[in-house]
Symmetry: C2
Subunit: 153 residues, 2 copies
Amino acid sequence: MPKLHWEDFTPGTVTVYGPRLVTREEIVAFAAEFDPQPMHLDEAAAGATLLGGLAASGWHSCSLLMRMIADGFVLESASMGAPGVDEVRWLRPLRPGTRVRVRATVLETRASNSRPELGFVRFLFEMLDEQDDVLTALTSPLMLKRRQAGASP
Amino acid sequence: MPKLHWEDFTPGTVTVYGPRLVTREEIVAFAAEFDPQPMHLDEAAAGATLLGGLAASGWHSCSLLMRMIADGFVLESASMGAPGVDEVRWLRPLRPGTRVRVRATVLETRASNSRPELGFVRFLFEMLDEQDDVLTALTSPLMLKRRQAGASP
């Protein structure tokens, strides 16, 4: 199967990946390793915080989102990685037992000026719960190989 | 020891946390779980990518940075978490065997309008290598409890 290249992404396209069940065990394991704040480790302590109960580290949400888009399309694409993330919003807590999906919206595509073999695809990625509420939203430009280096889009 | 509150952070303050040695094993383990792209898993495959060799997932860098600031000051503070991240830049690859530090710069502090018991401290966090080159930079507003709710700063 031919890999997805830069030319295969069209602004306005929306695709949903998942679902994936997020367990209490993985929330606590990630937090213990990377973000050992009480609201990510312990129900009782978490109840006293703004989150009002145990919830995943925001970085765990981002990492789970990455895995879901990797399985969804990135690993089947001529991806060259990303230079960064424009904005991350942790809008609602990710609770144990939530079945999440990721909605990927192509916002914009542009050729690279400095690297004729590459293009950028700017995505909005949203992690959704079962009610389609957005838990985490982030926008990020992915770099992808072009099928035809340097050709006009 | 009294916890750090919002009033204890002053714009312009720079603090460095770490060091922490980042191993090949943890880079590959994180990638296998969350970001299984070739450049984060396998030296030979990574050599053919823009990264030019095995390097940590950007989300791994962010998660390591989180752990270093947690141990550095967040766990000793009256932190209430963060609503998100304004910008993440993955500037240079994080290679196996790098001894990283995190430089935290207080950019700005402001009281919360809607929650008189809280204030925001906007930080620039930079992950540095042994040569003080910046590998990852991100800006994020942390929410902290105020010592005196609703008092003027």
